[in-house]
Amino acid sequence: MSETTFKIQRFNPEKDKETYFQEFKLEIPKGATLLDCLNLIKWTQDGTLTFRMSCRSAICGSCSVRANGHAVLACKTQASSVAQNDQVTIKPLGNMEIIKDLAVDLTEFWKKVEAIKPWLMPDEKKETQTTERTQSVEEFLKIDKASTCIMCSSCYSDCCSMAVDKSFLGPTALAKAQRFVEDSRDKETISRIKELSEDAGIWDCTHCGECSQRCPTEAKPLDRIVSLRTVALNSGVTNNYGARHAKAFVKSIKSSGILNENTIPVASMGFFNIPGLLSLIPVGIRMFLKGKNPPLIHHPMQELDDVKRIFKKFEEK
């Protein structure tokens, strides 16, 4: 069996100014996980190599690293599956500061999870509650997926929105929030969804899907975020830029079957958001001069009646 080169990013704040790569050669034992390989390297080649691990069973969520640019749970990933041409590049998770080698600082990550109040808030006072709070199977299934999250921060690491705005709550905290917002026993749904609709919340996700793709469990944050948006839109928490945009979009399709790109920007900005509207002018002019603007007269689709009928059917439901 041939050797695989593990290109591992190193950094020791006590002596290094910058991160650098170090190569380790290892024959990957049959069936070895990435974590097994990191351990082998640490035990037989360089004891100073630092990484987190605990359960080795995809339960504790501590062993996430980036393999070839993407976050993976090292103990759940077959080393052979990430080796390309006998090489694999290992880096610490993204969107967080490095403490040493592959260990990153999770302080902000945990702060954001705490910020969504990850505990049940039933209306009954503890003292007067004498019976169990039960849920039907259907009610439980709504929160089942989110509760499989193991807080490995893989999604947080690879979130594209986080990469340009560190204030974003991020996929982990939002997935966790869905677990409480849609918990039938929780009585703070509206206040929670209002808070989550603020800046840096549910509407700051771009839908890129990286989080769900990198999630090693069934939590799939993007689906949870979409679910939170559905709750927001259907419970009237719509006085914010994200919901306004979604509402305007749906309205446009309902009225002409296809999107009217002339009205959407204005409706999303809000009719009274003067600075927002002004900011559209330069790009508008630029596009207009090149003939790249949408046609000024918007033509609806053919057979619009049938689409309107479908919309109506769902509104009646």
Partner: protein
Amino acid sequence: MKYALYTGCVAKGAGRELLTSTYALAGKLGIELVELKNVSCCGAGVITEENPELADALNARTFAIAEEQGLNILNICGTCQGVMKKAQAHLDNDEDYKDKINETLKEGGHEYKGTVKIKHLLTVLTEDLGLSSLRNKVTVSLDGLKVAPFYGCYLLRPFETSDLDDPDNPTAIEVLTEALGGTSIDYEGKLKCCGFPYLMMKKKQSITMAGNHIASAKKEGADCMVTPCPLCQLSLDPYQPESAKEIGQKLDIPILHLPQLVGLAMGLKPKELGMQKHVVSTNKITAKIGC
């Protein structure tokens, strides 16, 4: 080769050069396109947020109409492609759900049977038409042109419903570029989000995102970027001056729609491909390949 063309909203709006170039290219390659005119927007992942069943019903209606014509759907928008494939999976994976949605379509005289295939132009070119056939048709080689592929989220993720063979490590645009004589380059932003979904709402973040990707392509020596998604094009091209300002770097990378790049190699003139409509001039690259 005959397909039902689903134009999507952008190719009828701010990205009409995508439609122009699609028709020009199809003509050159002998691909017959029947434009679906009585179908709605795919919902772009937004309608589904308000009402997932409504979004699936609208897409099921589109699928049914293509099926009635006995044609498979050809998408020219990466977002439409991703959204439709997801909707199709919802319907195909659950018979009861499919029946329920079909109940809604019935009154309009439609029924989704599940026979239609949904493909993006990219895979129609690389798989249905094939690279060797394309190679034979090249009249203006893209020799010397360094092309940075920008795939766009919806064509890739979720992997399960992606049109591409290996969405975690896609090579479709790369092999296509090479078949046309060009050189494809690898760069940091290749598989990332263009920022379009929140361009209207979080402009600073969105144009930073786009700017970072353009800068990373430029750093690797790209002459241009090419994308199979007109939403990515909208975010990367018209806003490029603002992106440049935001990230404090000079950016001047033309952003081509996929059929424009292929069209150039097939001997179509830049004007026939609507390239005069781009905000970032494409003159540098057309001069480079001599057309």
